[in-house]
Each structure stands twice: as structure tokens, then as C-alpha cells.
Subunit: 336 residues, 6 copies
């Protein structure tokens, strides 16, 4: 492959343009035409665009595609980029695996994943520090610490969603830490405002609930080359029930954990989406679950709005487009 | 207490009538007037009516009420029956515990509970026979058998609901057996109709799902003297999640149980109420869960309608009243 | 037309492919361009795909198209197949009517219609047998028999819907027979369960209701070359009201038919879709109408789910796509 | 019965007051106490209040009540009036049938029914005049005239509803005439505004639709001593379907009636309540049905609002109470 | 530019056709490709179609486009017309500004705007005449007259909506006058029907409300070359609140205006869309606001239906397509 | 009036009890019986209960009631307390105005109003301090300061609602300060999280929005002796629109205020209830309005939940009753 033409990010290619790109093979699906001939539908992507290539069985790429191309592998390709009603397409002209030398041309595997802007280790450490300082119920603290430490790698890596909000590597931890911080604020605040409630608000539970409300995502989602996707149990059971399972599994190893505390913690997870039509089979029936619901909801919705406003505006644009998870145009400002 | 007056069932007393009745003490709640004096609010009932008596602390019953009356105990009372806006009330004139001799006057403890019209032992045996014959997946059969046998007593005794349908002793088993029979019919039928689905419908799962769909009721409800009531975890977690827990606990003891089979069984329980607003966080995504949902729904709704039509009609009544769980007048027939 | 190239089913053609196909002319619509020139938009189809050809007035096909092509006619065509944002398209290269000799090349008119997998005559006979055995109310039996026999041909041929479920030739009868069988099961079952309701459940009515619940489809839909379509009265009045009309017309010829029986039968038809937003102006107010509603609903929904699972899966596919009438991905099974 | 005390309208009696009243016997229901003794629940009413009397079988009125009191009969009673949680009650002290001489004390049977403020004959004549002048389609005119004349007595007498709006004798005709007048206005108006629609708006149909939109009320409701009540077919079928039946019956006698005209007229009746949840299985799909819907809706809603404002205001009341069919307080005006 | 080829309206061009057209430049948006090169997305339109042209920075039109093309300017272009999944497209072959001589070839600026079929001056005069005759409350009349006269030009020019109904130049006035006429009819009618309401219906307010109900559109919408568009305050505040502002501004200059009259007028504007989900924060609580709501709603909905029926039908079409603001196929008539 | 019996708070009286109480006269409504005799319906209350007394015109209190009793006046009464289906009732035995000497028996006017637990002056000062420190946009600060200072007395006194939450004297300020504090937290937090949004989040606007979101309550509600009640404009216009009016009035006096800043502030008020069915005609379209919505919503809902948990529990009560504004039983804790 000649290296004269400069390397173009796949996501910068214009329709009709021939380009050399570094890409990751996101998916390789074998299928058959109606007359029985096998072919592959292959997706290549970089961090910002995914394009499809059809590898028919009478083309020169078919054998290699079948035998050696791997989802998750990095490749250098030369292609013609097109867009049609099914979205971005590429005609593959050349392809080879990436080599160490490609680093000289700017290849960096980290470029191929959208990730949190924050440092996962720092976030994880802060989360542990919050647990240590603010969960004063010792068995509950033990549960949270055990759960966090056993799942540290996945917690640092996971997304918070397939789409909608924090749908990127590390997004789970970014969202969880932000929710937990708001939980801290709200717990301190309302504990002071209503000292007479019987029983008093449990700050330990609000903080533990903030940390664990979405823990079922670790089983609902799985990382795949093409991004995060739902697991079968994610679709058939859902992260709310799966998260409660995880908490109960860790709870069973801590004898001192109070039955009511566990019940309240389970309820926080069950109720954190507030309404049946939003996914919670039971609405918040405790002050702790109410606070965790709000801390979560505001962080998710604010992320959606901020993400819309981070996109560079079109000239003269007073509102963003509506194609964001809020299904709403966000106001940018007057132009006149 | 004179025994001249005949014994009147509490549920037959007319407002203003003085009556001698056998009753069970359903509830005894201690409270305080606003100026700090203690009193008890006591409920007496038979199978068809519950009435309240107020035991003020300056009355002759207060000391006995405090020290010896027991919820669940049987008493013979003389009272004046009244109805006001808070419902049935009684002024207590005399009271003593029931003695063996009261059997001569017709006292029978079994009269105080509404129960299923069917024999619990026969129903339970039939359920086991169905399991034996129709669940061909051996580990799944083991799970169902273990679960049924370990919980036999509670399964035979429990109600299916606090109100709405099958809300009586043995109602759980009556409903479960009826649902399971319909499941058998539907599984046989649709397996034959659609032999080409991939994978084929699992009759074992439909039957197991019919038997276990409401198993969480065993933890959601508890028997109390005044009838069945929600437990705290029943309110905060709900029978769908609690039922899945029970299934998973039993499954963990059966190594041979296939992971997908367990997942499908869990999904049946999760999805059996069909829609979020009816209580299911996830809708049916498998043929087995669709069939169990319908078998359950039709049995519950038919019970509501039949119960309305079993009440003796008012003269000239073409429709039943609307105060049934369907919130609808059921047609009895033309009167002209 | 040369017969060297093999015959390709239209539904197997790949975009860009030139193919010889047997097709039925589904629709021929005359229109005008904005500058007033006439043209035809013609649809050709086989059982699995419909494609559009534009016949401009300056092309060689225009005169024949105008004068002799008939909707419903069978043709052999040579074409180039394409797909664009308006769906499948064909450029017509050659066309002639099918001749008897084409049978040698595999032409069979029956291939062009999706039909029920069951034998219409056998289904119809079974339906009559059920009527004979299970409708014990003689005038009601007469009504059903008259209605079935008078409309036998259309009953055997009709679809149950334009889309959604049983939307194919014979689908009406397939659905009706299946619903009626479930009605039989449910009527026997609940008659035995609740012998005390006043009045008792009428098995005759449940069976008659199962058979006739959708009878208005005979006026709501009409068979057209391109499949089944709504009639004007189907859109403006709807099959529920049209079905009740048919029943009332037949009832008017049977003097002995009890007024209440007729009213109950009408109500079954009116209420069989259960809720206003699903099409029923009045919800089920009788046990018979409740059973027919469920027998119908489960058959329709199960058909949707089974149809999704009958499609051959993509490799590695754990769930079907969402583009089915349930708007839901159906679980196929774990792939790992 | 002494005639010293002045006659008090039942609806003016204060709780605790002993009063002599002329009343109509609205209903007499036989029932049994739980210990099997028969009694009657009897309702007496005047135009503005209905009160219940219990006639126990050991009281002096029981025999007369059983043998001779008639629903619809007029009586002079002496009673003590009370109100409890079940509404107005009376203790019956004396009772006799009204005699001719009671006219001297002010008895007038017409006082016992709320009726339209307009003259039924004049309204009926106006309706016929409108038909004659504005329905230019001759067969359609014939249909409407036949239908009106055949049902003249019931049309003049019926209410438009059991409650909600125009729920009084003659209310049907009052409402129908008002709707028809608005239909005339709207048909003239929009025919002039949009002369280009294809086909043009049919004024004949709008007028006929206005007159006949609620004609099914004649079968849905029946006059009873206690007011208008639903018939069984009213509840099980509903006035929309029953009204279409009437129209079709009359149409079958008019050979010249165009099939499309009849279809459009049926559609107006079917669609006049606009949405499924308001009772129309199909929404307006023609301009004529849209206009009739609005003419009907505004007349019903305005009647509700005007009726609320016709009640004499409480002192200082800026808004009416909310207990009207609009479930809304209507603004009377500022008081300061 | 050669003038041999005849001028084709842009909206008559067929895909693939080369055409000479008079057009207005609707929008000119500057953007950048991902590699940073500027380009313009330009929209040209006539009254019935809008098409996009891409002006890349290496093409001969770029400099002129940047420096001199003006949104709102008229141009004569030669282009190749295409349609793809993003809608109508043009390849620009030649372009120049329209000159006076183009009138000889049929150019008329008025052709480029859809406008009301009625004469704005006549409509405006009629509106003033209605005010003069029917608003008898002098300060209220003053308010309406001042407001109309100050905003005469914009009132005559504005559309009533961006889409949905009366979405064309002069549509605002056409709709307002029509609503006001219906208000007159309804006010006269119901004032006569219910003379006893307390207070009586205010015809002055109904008429003023009809005229001013949508007055906030003058601030919600603005005229742009490509049609009417929402202003930022239109999106963030909405025409209901903006209309009330205008009324209050004019009211503040009229000392004699009664506080209650102003409050009632504000309420009419606030409530005219009836339900929260239709845009009104508060439902009609006065008879005047109820009438204005209906007069408005029927005019909007009838316009939608009439507009669908004004489109020329396809051959054999019994119903219009569903792509109108009612989302419903309108019945044209039977074809057989 | 003898002073032997101890003074009982009205809210502590038991049904049937004779009691001496200090009360405030909450309302005095003149009405007429149906036979034309005047009477008064008078409400007396303390901070926790309101009871009704009927003053008939033939009783000894009628003349005094008519001529001298004043809503808002304090009285000492001797009464018999009863409860019936219309709620608490009193038979008045004696009554006189409160005198200075009654202070010796514990009379304190402040006891008759539920008020905030916080010091209004301190809260008001804190609010001004927040404005001073955190609203950095000078004209916006000026607007807020002017508005607060001009309305200081009413701001300190008003309730936040008639019922639901913070429905007591000073509740408005308590709620506003709490919301503003949360706004500060959220603004600081999300400004730091998303520094790249264009435009950046305006902390000045979030704080100003928090302070002013409910400012329309000052016109929607008015203080009356019986508590806070809706004004006519409160019902017909609503606090959202009234609040925006107040802001615009103050804005008109500050020339330097940026048009966009004002528009954003108005939008915060309009959108703060988030959804049409919750009262906001337009949903949040800016980050500032999103944050204010959540800060408000959580404070209202938490107040409801905390208030339920502040009520003293019944013995053995695991959940509070459902009769709170959340319509939900709140979990207190396990009892076993």
C-alpha cells in the first residue's frame, strides 16, 4: 500500500472521496444471498463514525475476511467512502493489519474509543474515600468496599448506557461518582432540614445507594468492539434486578449487615428510576431512595443537555437540532 | 352471659340490633387520645364482616383488653351493632373467650375464614402430577419439585392477593393450579401450531412458569388474624422480584440446570404482568412468557367476573353493581 | 425472450442484477407528470417482494401497458433489479404474458400468494363439526350454520388482517378455528370452575362468539391482486360494527332466536377488542365476551411472536429484530 | 291526615324537620335481611331531590307497600327528613295516594319532572322545517322525515343523557335542534370558504347528521319514574351503534338512497364523539362528520357550563363549586 | 444564458431533468468540511418546492455565493434536478440575478409565496367593522382597535403557523377573521339560549377573544425568505404567553378598562388551546373562553381536512394519503 | 363563662366532649335555607383543626354573629365537639371575644398559625447575601434585589402552596431559600463538569431563577383567616404566568438588562414545572431551567415525604398512611 496519500480519519471522509484510514473492525456478520451464496457484512469504525463494507464471495477479500479478519482488530484500509440511505458505506480497495510502524503515521489505539475526560483511577480513589468517610454503618461500608474492589476493572471501564447518556468507556464511573457527590450534598442538606423525621435520614444509605444504584449495568452491558451492547440477561431481566442481585450476593457474605438496612438498599436500587414507565417496578417509598433518584436523574439529563451544547454550532444557529436523547432543541442564544 | 338470645353471625346483624356473636379478634391497636390517655381500637370479625370497637381507658374492658385479649383469639360477645361513616362499629356489652361447650351452639373455628372451595391436598397432588408428567427437562423438574415440597404448607394456605382475586385461604393454590392447567392447554396447542419456530416452544418452561409465576406471593403476603396483608418487603420489593429470588435460590442447588433455561424461567416471572404499569418491568420477550401471562390474566379476570355473578342479585337487577375489581357492571340478563 | 438465463424469483434478485422472473402485476396506477404527460406506476410482485416499475409515455411499453396489462395477470419479465430509498425498483427490459409452457420452467400460480399452511376444507369442516357438537342452543346453531355456509367461499379465502397477524389467504379461517378451539377449552374449564354464577356461562355463546368475532372482516377487507386491502366501509365503519350487522341480518331470519341471546352475541363481537383504544367501543360486560376476547388476543399475539421466530436467524443473533407487529425483539437463545 | 301544616317540597326539607310533602314513588325494591326477612327500599322524589325510606316487614306500611304502592304513583306523605352518609333518608309517618282535591293545595304532576324550557311541538316543527329547506338530497330528506315522524312522541319526550348534559324530559330534542342549527351555520360557512374541495361539502349530510347523531339515545335510554335510565342494550351496545341501526333500518326502505350517502351518514353517527376514549370507535374521516362532532361537543359542554352558572351563587363566591360534569370551577366574577 | 429552453417551474422538474427556473434564494448556510474547508449549503425554492445546492469552495460559484448572493433574492438558474434520501437537490449549471426583462418570460415575484385566497385589506376592514358593531364595551373596543391598527401591516402579512394550518402569507388574518365570525354566531346563539346565567355571557369578550386569541403569533413567528419560522421567544415562551403580553401592554394605556374584563380577556388567550398537552396551561373556566376555544379549534381542523381534499386525487383513490396534519386519510368517495 | 374547666385545644377535643377552647374565626358565610330563612355557617379553628358551627336565625347567637363576629377575630368558646360525615362540627354553648387576661390561661395568637420553623428575617438576609455574592451579572442582580426588597413583607409571610408542600406561613421563603441553595450547589458543580458547553452555564441565572421561580405565588395566593387561598387570577392565570409578569415589570426599569438574559430568566420561570401536565407550558430548553426545575422538584417532594415521617407513628406501624400529597405509604421501618 502506497503511503503517499495522507491518512484521513474515517470520520472526516466526504462522500465520493478515496481515502486511507486506520480503522477497527467493529463487526463481521456472515450471511447468505437469497440464492445461497455466502457473504460478509463488515463494519469498520473510528471513534466518531462506523461504515459498512460488503464482502461478496466472488471478491478477492472474501477468503481473508473469512479466515483471518477479527472483530476488534486494527487495520489500515484504502477505500472509497459513500453515504446512502442505509448510512455510511465503503468500497474496500486495500486492507492490511496495522503494524508497529504505523505509529509513525499517527496510529494510536486509544483514538478509537470515546472515553471519559476524567482519570478512572482518580475517580475510583475518590469513590473509595467517600465510602470511607461518609458510610458510617460498618457492615454496609464493608459491602460497598468489597463490591467496588472486586469489580474495580469493570467499574473503571464500563459505559453507563448503550446510548442516551455517558455512553462511553469510563462513563459508568464518571456518572456514578457525580451522582454520589450530589447524594452527599442532598443527604447533608436534608438531614439538617428535617431532624425530626422518624427514622432519621440515613446518610450511609444515600451514599451507598448513589454508588450502587446502577451497579447492574455491569451485567446488563458488555464491551464489544463496536461499543457497549446489551447482554441477553440485560434485555430479559434488566439492570435494576441484576444490580439488586449483586448487592444481595455481597450482602450474604456479611453477617452483621442489618436486615432492614439491606432491604432499604435494595429498595433504593429498585426505585431509582421512579416510575414504572421509566423502568422502576416500585416508586420511592423512603427518603433515601427519593434522593438517589433525583441525584441520578439530574446527572443523566444534564449530561444530555450539555452534550448537545458541546457540539460546534452551525452558523446562525439559535437552537441545537432535536436529535438528542431529550428530543428537544436546546437554546444556544440570540444571534441578532 | 345469658344464652337465651340465639347466636347471630356478626355479618347478619342489622344496624341498631343487639346481638350475641362468635367472633375472632382480628386486630388490637393501642393509641392515645390527644390529651394522652391510652385506648385500644379493636377489630372483631367473622368470615364476612369486620367491625370496630373502641376500648377507652375508663371502661370496664380496658384492663382485660390490655392484659389478655389476643389477636387471633376466638370470643363470644354481646354487642350493639351500628354502622357509621367509618364502617361497621360495635358497642361491646359482654365478652368472654370461647369454650369447648360453645360447639354445642354452633361454634366452628373453620367458619371464620374464607377458603378455597377445593381440597388443598388434592390440588397440591395434582400440581405434582403435572410436574411429573409434563416437565421433561429433568433439572427444571427437580427445581420445581424441591420448591413445591419445601413450601407445601404455605402453598396450601396462602391467598393469591390481599384483595382483587382469589383473596382467601388456599386461593394461591387454586389460582396456580388453574393457571397451570391453561398453560398445559396452550403449550400443547401452540407447539403443534408452530412447529417451525427456532427454538421450539418449551412446554417444560410454560408449565414450570405457570406453577411459579406468583411464587413471590409467599414472601409478599403474610397471614394475619384479619386476613392476608403485605409484608414490608412485599411493598418495597414486590412479588415479582421476590419470586425470582426464590427460583434463583433453588436453582443454585441444581448444578445441571441450564443457564438459558434458568434465564427463561426468570423472564417468565418478571414478565408475567405484561406491562410496566401492571407491574412487570419488562414485557414478554419469549413465547413461554407470553403464554403464562395470558393464562394468568384470564384466570384473574374471570374470577373477578364470576365472583360478581355469584352474589345473589337484587330483585329486577339486570346488571351487578360496579364495586368489583373490574370497576364494571356485569350483565345478569334481561328482566322483561 | 431467450430462456438461457435461469428463472430467478423476484424476491431473490440482488440490487444491480439482471434477472428473468415470473411475476404477477399487482397494481397499475395512471398518473401525470407536472407538465401533463401521462405515465403508469406499475407494481410487480411474487409472494415475498413487490417492486415498482415506471412506464413513461415515451417508452415502448406505454401502449401495451395502457391497453392490455391487467392487475392480477401473470407475466414473465426480464428486468434489472434495483433498490433505492423508495424501496425495490425494476427497469423493465422485456415482458410477455405467461403461457402454459412456462409450467415447464416452474411457473405455478399458487406460488404467488402466501396462504395458510392448513387445508381450508378441513378447517371449514372442523368448524361445522364444532358448531354441531357444542352449540346446543338450536336457533343460535342455525344462525351460525347459515352464516358459515352462505359465506363459505369467502371464509375459506380471506385474510384475518391487512398486516399484523394472519395477513394471508386463508388466514381468517386459520385464526377463527384456532380461537374457537381455545374458546371451547376455556368455556368447558370455567363452566366447571364456577357452577354457581347466575346465570351460568353459556358455552353455546362462547363458541358462536369465537366463530363470529371477526366475521366483519369479510366486509372490512377485500382481496386484491396486491394482497388484502381495506374497503371504504372497512375504514369508515370498521369490522366490529360490520360483523354485528352480518349477525343481525342472519338473526332476523330466525324467529326462535332469543332476544337476550342475540344481544349477548352482539356484545361479544362489540367487546372482543377489550378497550376503546384497541377498537372496542364497549369493554366485556359478560363472561362469554371476556373469554372470546382472550382467546382472540392470545392467538393474534402468539402468531406475531411465532412468525418472528420462524424467520431464519442471522448468525450469532440472540434476539430477532424489532420490526414485527409486537415492536419487540424476541429472544432466540444464548449464543455462547 | 291533618292538613294544618303547610305543604313543604321534599327538596326544601331540612335535616331533622317533620314535613308534609307531595312526592312520586320513584322505585320500590324488595330485598331480604341476612336473616331472611323481606323488606322494601323505597325511593320518593320531587323534581329536585330523591330520598330513601326503608319499609321493614314488621312495620305498618309493609303490607300496603307490597300490595298496592306503585312506582310512578303520586303520594302525599308526612315524614321526618334526615341525611346520612347514604344520602337523604325519610322516616315515613303517614302516606296516602294523591287525590283530585290535592290540586287545591298546589299539587301539579308536571312539577315532578325537570323538562326543557322550550316548547317541544315548536322545536319539532322547526326541525322539520330545517329538513324541508336544507336537505336537498331527496332520498336523504325522505329518510330523515320518516324517522322523525315515526318517532315523534319519543323524540319530544326523551332526555339527551342520564346525567352530564340535557338530562331532562325534552332535553334530547332541545340538544338536537341546537346542534342542527350550529350545523347549518357551519355547513354554510365552510362550503363558502372551501369551494374547491373534491368532493364539495354536503350540506344535506351535515344537517341530517346533526339531526340524527344521537338518535340511538331513543334505544339507549328509557323513561322511568325515577328519571331516564340506561337500557340493557344501551349498556351492552351503546347509542352510537344503536343509532346507526335505526338509520339503516329506515334506509332499507328507500331504494333511491345512494350507497355512498348512506355510508357517509353512518360514519357521521359513528364518529361524532371523535375519539375512542370518548366513545367513537372511528375518528371523523369526512368534513361532514368533523362539523357534526364540533356542533355536538360545543353544545354539550356549553350546557354544562351554563347550568353551573345558573345555580344561585353562595355569597362572596367567585367560582362555582367543582361538582359539575366539567369537574371544574367556573368563574363567576370578582367580588371585590 | 441561452433562453431557448422554456422556463420550467422548479417544482415541476423531474429527477434527472436539466431545467431553467426562476427561484428565490431561501437560505445560505456557511459550514466547514471535516478537514476545514468552507462550503455553503444553499436552498432555492419556488412556491411549491425547495431544493438544496452544495457550493464547494473549489467551484466557480463559491466566490459569488460568499460575496453577493442574498437570502430573499430572486435568481434565474440552469440546473440539473435530482432527488435523493435528503430530498430535492440541484446541481447548479448557471445562475444570474433576475432582471426586469424576465417579466417577459413570466417571472412574477408574487408567484413565490403561497398566500391567502382572500384580500387582506377587505378582511382587515371586515374585522374592524365587526369590532365596531359588536364590541359594545367601549374600553375593550378601544384596546382591540388600537392593537389592530398599530399592527396592521404584520397582521395582514403573517401566517397562522409554521406548518399544520393556515401556514401561508395572510393565513393569520384569514384564520382570525373566520374564528371571529364563528365567535359572533356562537355568542349570539348561546346568549339567547341561556339568558339566566350569572353573569350573562359577554359578547364583547367573545368577539375580542376571537380576534386576539392568536395575537402572540406576531411575536412567535417571523417571516423569512424560506417561509415563516419560530423566533427564539416563540420557542422559549410561546404564543399564548406572548399574546397575553401584547394585550396587557395595550390595556395599560386604557384607564377605563375594567380589571375583571381584562382578566377574562387574558384567560381567553391562556385557555384557547383547552388542555395542557395542547398548549394551554389552564383549561377554559369561563363561557367566553370555551366558545373561543371551539371557534378556533374547528377552523384549524377544518382547514386541515379541506386542504387535504383540495389536492388533486390520484386515479382510483378513495381516500387521501395520511401525510396531513390530522394524520388521517380523508374519504373522497367510492370509486365503484 | 366559668373558668373551672381547663382550656382544651380545639384540635384535642374528642367526639362528644364538651370543651372550652381559644379559637380564631376562620370564615363566616351567610346563606339561606330553602324556605328563605338566613343562617350562618361559621368555621372556627386552631393551628391543627377546623370545625364548623351552624348559626340558625332562631338561635341566641344569630344577632351577634351577624353584627359583630369577624373573620380573623379570636374568641373563647364553650362547645360540644362532634364529628360527622361532613367533618368536625361544634355546637356552640358560649362565646366571647378573647381579652388580654386570657394570656394568663395560655392564649397566644401565634399558636393559631402553622409557620416555618426558621426565622424569616434570617432567611431573607441569607437570600440577599446569596444574591450579593453569586449573581455577578449586575443588572440581573439589581432586578432581583429590587424585587426582593419591594416585596419583603409578603415574601416573609407567604405560604408556598395552599396544600401539598410548605403550605404554611413563611413556607414560601423557606422553600425558596432551600431551592436557591441547591441551585448554588448544582450550578457550581455542573459549571465545573462541562466547561466546554457553548454558551457556558450562567450561575447568575441559576441563582436568580431559584429565587424567582415561584414569585408568582405572591399573586396566586392570598392570606386569609382560614389559611392561604387562591386568588381569582391565581386560578385563571396561574403563578407561572403571574411570576413572569412580576419579573418583566421589574426588568422594564433596568435599562442595562440584556434582552437574552431576561428571556432566559423568563424561560426558567415558565419551564420550572417541566411538563405540560405538571403546569409548565414549555419544557426546559436551557441548562439553567433544567437545574432550577430539579432543585424545586426535589425540595417539594422531600418536604412531602419528611412531613409524613414527622407525624407520630401508630404503634406497630411499618408504613405511614397513604393520605399525603405523594399518595404513597412511606416506609418507617421493620417492627419485628
Amino acid at each position: 500500500m502506497s503511503d503517499q496519500p495522507p491518512i484521513t480519519p474515517l470520520s472526516d471522509a466526504e462522500p465520493g472521496q478515496q481515502a486511507d484510514c486506520f480503522v477497527v473492525l467493529a463487526a463481521k456478520d456472515r450471511a447468505k444471498t437469497r440464492d445461497g451464496k455466502p457473504y460478509f457484512r463488515v463494519s469498520f469504525r473510528d471513534a466518531a463514525r462506523k461504515a459498512t463494507a460488503m464482502i461478496w464471495n466472488d471478491t478477492r477479500w472474501f477468503a481473508d475476511c473469512e479466515s483471518s479478519w477479527q472483530a476488534g482488530g486494527f487495520y489500515k484500509i484504502r477505500c472509497r467512502y459513500e453515504e446512502n440511505q442505509y448510512g455510511p458505506q465503503i468500497d474496500l480497495l486495500q486492507i492490511r493489519e496495522v503494524t508497529d510502524d504505523d505509529a509513525d503515521d499517527g496510529f494510536d489505539p486509544a483514538d478509537f474509543f470515546v472515553t471519559t475526560r476524567f482519570d478512572p483511577q482518580e475517580m475510583f480513589t475518590e469513590l473509595l474515600d467517600i465510602v470511607d468517610e461518609h458510610i458510617t454503618d460498618a457492615p454496609l461500608k464493608q459491602l460497598v468496599v468489597n463490591l467496588l474492589k472486586d469489580n474495580e476493572a469493570q467499574i473503571k471501564d464500563s459505559a453507563a448506557a448503550v446510548r442516551n447518556h455517558h455512553a462511553f468507556r469510563g462513563g459508568f464511573l464518571e456518572h456514578v461518582l457525580s451522582v454520589t457527590r450530589t447524594c452527599l450534598y442532598l443527604a447533608d442538606k436534608y438531614l439538617a432540614y428535617y431532624p425530626e423525621t422518624d427514622p432519621p435520614l440515613s446518610k450511609s444509605l444515600v451514599v451507598a445507594g448513589g454508588i450502587l444504584h446502577d451497579i447492574g449495568k455491569l451485567r446488563e452491558l458488555e464491551s464489544q468492539p463496536q461499543g457497549f451492547a446489551y447482554t441477553a440477561e440485560g434485555r430479559l431481566v434488566g439492570h435494576i434486578l441484576l444490580g439488586r442481585d449483586i448487592v444481595r450476593e455481597y450482602a450474604s457474605a456479611i453477617d452483621e449487615l442489618d436486615a432492614e438496612t439491606l432491604l432499604r438498599l435494595e429498595h433504593i436500587i429498585i426505585a431509582h428510576q421512579n416510575l414504572p414507565e421509566w423502568g422502576s417496578p416500585i416508586a420511592p417509598h423512603t427518603p433515601e431512595s427519593l434522593l438517589v433518584h433525583y441525584a441520578d436523574d439530574i446527572d443523566a439529563k444534564y449530561h444530555m443537555m450539555a452534550t448537545a451544547l458541546e457540539l460546534p454550532p452551525e452558523e446562525g444557529e439559535e437552537f441545537t437540532p432535536r436529535d438528542n436523547p431529550l428530543r428537544r432543541s436546546i437554546f444556544r442564544g440570540l444571534t441578532e
